[in-house]
């Protein structure tokens, strides 16, 4: 298999190579990250001071909705699918993904979905303005006409995710190198295997929810319309039955990345490997039985509130196992603080803060105060941004030398880390205070007493935004002019099959399966 990639644009359009598709996923995800980040910058600019400065509230609502949709379905999920495409075959000693053509399809329908979604913002009546959770009647009775395009786009994204997930499961279960038993797989592969099962289970539920909204809007059904015998609360149950596993779909692969980076720079094997596997599976299982904790204020019976409260707090146990395992891995390790390690350590600290606020919002009586305030915004940005995005950024710095055979500039990497870390905390830590003081989410304006912390938060967000531009610069500078590296093991403490192939990773790897002892 001496032949390399095809020439010209055809290489990218028709490729079935897992590395090409992985790269496309990563670039697509980064471009969506910039778009979603641009929406966030507009939101923070509007909230810089009280009153309406830049936009109508209707447009603000479109921004918050699109920011959520683009970041979740366009930036974070494809980023980890991209990492999975690149790394899973390398980590299990497979020549490619199990279903290379479907892999191409599942990537290329994504840009289509996002073109459709973005185009709604230029339509008459504007784009989706009902929040990324699209609760009826906002998304049915009061929705702009573009809601049908939103639904179609979401269907395509769901199809893409399901195909990607099936591909990953087939690859992991059927294409491991001889000797690579399940309990020898790297944690990243394990977390992705479990995530893929979650995707297959819940993306169809999202498809069901949007289909019911579609029928209520266009075909006169009353799934969510009380006047016709339906119930808008039903939507929330269906949506969060998808939505809660969805947050673990986002964070589990991030756990896998951290479980790869921490041992490398601690120069010790991962502490408690098997407990990590079981904890991941436990989190995935629990994610199916806690959904109504997003709905404590809809008026549930006391037993319901109690059940969902305790079940939710239970998730802190396997998550705690993971955090303690990472800390134990670092304990007495010969630690060095390269950029990926900095992102991984920041992940552990900030994700734990987000986990603690998670336990706070899990408490039903307290949540009645926190619900729909900036406290919730702060909570989920600590787990989604400092969790998934920091982990993804760390992963890029960690594997970039392997991908392109060039080392990033350590000083620039560290600068980007500190800019991101400081910017992130200035943005989101004050939002805890705002939320506790009662500032509600999803409004373009706020009362005067919230002005100071909002200004601080906005300044922080501009710093955090600048850090992402620096990330883009760092990646491009590395690819174009980074110092060349050739040794297969780019990091001296790294272990695993991906570090046995030459650097940069050739177009075809493991054409003959490696022997795993």
């Amino acid at each position: 298999m001496a032949h390399g990639p095809a020439k010209g644009i055809g290489r990218w359009l028709f490729t079935t190579n897992h590395k090409d598709i992985g790269s496309m996923y990563l670039w697509f995800s980064f471009s969506m990250f910039i778009v979603g980040g641009f929406f966030a910058m507009l939101i923070r600019a509007e909230l810089f001071s009280p009153g309406l400065q830049m936009m109508r509230p209707e447009f603000f609502n479109q921004l918050t909705t699109m920011h959520g949709l683009v970041m979740i379905f366009g930036a974070i999920m494809p980023a980890f699918v991209g990492l999975a495409n690149w790394m899973i075959p390398l980590q299990i000693g497979a020549p490619d993904m199990a279903l290379p053509r479907m892999n191409n399809l599942s990537f290329w329908i994504l840009p289509v979905a996002f073109v459709i979604l973005m185009s709604t913002m230029f339509m008459e009546g504007g784009g989706p303005n009902f929040g990324w959770t699209f609760y009826p009647p906002l998304s049915t009775t009061y929705a702009p006409d573009s809601v049908n395009y939103f639904i179609f786009a979401l269907h395509i994204m769901g199809a893409s995710s399901i195909m990607g997930a099936i591909n990953i499961i087939a690859t992991v279960l059927n294409m491991r190198a001889p000797g690579m038993t399940m309990m020898k797989m790297p944690m990243f592969v394990w977390t992705w295997l479990i995530t893929a099962f979650l995707l297959v289970a819940v993306m169809p539920v999202l498809a069901g929810a949007v289909t019911m909204v579609l029928m209520d809007v266009n075909f006169g059904t009353s799934f969510f319309d009380a006047a016709g015998g339906g119930d808008p609360i039903l939507f929330q149950h269906v949506f969060w039955f998808f939505g809660h596993p969805e947050v673990y779909i986002i964070i589990l692969p991030a756990f896998g990345v951290i479980s790869a980076i921490i041992p490398t720079f601690s120069r010790k094997p991962l502490f408690g490997y098997s407990s990590m596997v079981y904890a991941t599976a436990a989190i995935a299982f629990l994610s199916f039985i806690v959904w109504a904790h997003h709905m404590f204020t809809v008026g549930m019976p006391l037993t319901g509130e109690l059940y969902f409260m305790y079940a939710t707090m239970l998730i802190a146990v396997p998550t705690g196992v993971k955090v303690f395992n990472w800390v134990a891995t670092m304990f007495r390790g010969a630690i060095t603080f390269e950029t990926p390690m900095l992102f991984a350590i920041a992940f552990i600290i900030l994700f734990t803060i987000g986990g603690f606020t998670g336990v706070m919002v899990a408490m039903a009586p307290a949540d009645i105060q926190y619900h729909d305030t900036y406290f919730v915004i702060a909570h989920f940005h600590y787990v989604m941004v400092a969790g998934a995005v920091f982990s993804g950024t760390g992963a890029v710095y960690y594997w970039l030398p392997k991908w392109c055979g060039r080392m990033y500039d350590e000083t620039m990497g560290k600068l980007q880390f500190w800019l991101a870390f400081i910017g992130f905390n200035i943005t989101f830590f004050p939002q805890h205070f705002l939320g506790l003081a009662g500032m509600p989410r999803r409004y373009a304006d706020y009362s005067l007493q919230f002005a100071d912390w909002n200004m601080v938060s906005s300044i922080g967000s501009f710093i955090y935004g600048a850090a992402q531009i620096l990330l883009l610069y760092n990646v491009i500078a590395t690819i174009v002019a980074g110092k060349r590296v050739t040794e297969p093991k780019t990091w001296e403490g790294a272990e695993g099959l991906e570090w046995t192939v030459p650097t940069p990773a050739p177009y075809h790897t493991f054409s003959t399966p490696p022997e795993v002892k």
Binding site: A98, L99, T141, I162, A165, I166, I169, A170, L173, N174, M175, V200, A201, V202, M203, P204, V205, A207, G208, A209, T211, M212, G220, F223, A226, A227, G228, G229, G230, D231, I233, L234, H237, V238, F241, F242, G299, M300, P301, G304
Partner: protein, 183 residues
């Protein structure tokens, strides 16, 4: 590569995805309805009840309050004729709600009941209710709409007050009953 086992695996996973879609569309909504009916979640009350036992529990007196709300932009005047009655469990009680259509259009409404507290919902039985049907009302017309209810004798001891709330929805656009008005 084991293509045969891969094919089987893909078939299973795809079937799983389809099953989950059908589950969300066709199992979750009815399941939710059953769940609400059993637990009284959301104050949902049952369909028409046929009284079987006429025993009245004179030892308890329950306050039943009536609340009426117009959904959204619904322009009708709508409310209970009496705001509160005191009843004994087991005793059929008739009450009425009034409605007036102040607009110059023929309209159709649908009332949706809800009972609070939730653990009383199952024990609040309606033998007759205007909410069982759509309510067409010609422009400017008004009407009195009957409800006959029985508070079940098994009502939990802790419940002394029950609130019956109706929300009135404008369903003119979705209804065929408008045409019948003009005849």
């Amino acid at each position: 590569m084991a293509t045969k086992t891969t094919g089987k695996l893909i078939a299973k996973l795809s079937a799983g995805a389809v099953v989950m879609f059908l589950f969300a569309m066709f199992v979750m909504p009815p399941l939710y309805d059953v769940f609400c009916e059993v637990t009284g979640l959301g104050g949902k009350t049952g369909d028409r009840y046929v009284a079987t036992d006429a025993t009245i529990d004179e030892s308890r007196t329950i306050r039943v309050q009536f609340v009426a709300t117009n959904n959204g932009e619904m322009p009708w005047d709508f409310g209970p004729t009496v705001h509160e009655v005191r009843v004994h469990p087991g005793e059929p009680t008739p009450v009425t709600f009034f409605a007036r259509n102040p607009t110059d259009m023929d309209m159709v409404a649908q009332a949706v009941p809800s009972v609070s507290p939730a653990n009383a919902a199952r024990h609040f039985l309606k033998t007759e209710c205007f909410c069982f049907n759509q309510q067409p009302l010609a422009a400017g017309a008004e009407t009195e709409m009957p409800v006959v209810f029985i508070v079940d004798r098994d009502l939990p001891r802790a419940v002394n007050t029950i609130t019956l709330s109706y929300t009135l929805f404008d369903i003119t656009a979705h209804s065929e009953n408008v045409a019948s008005l003009s005849n």
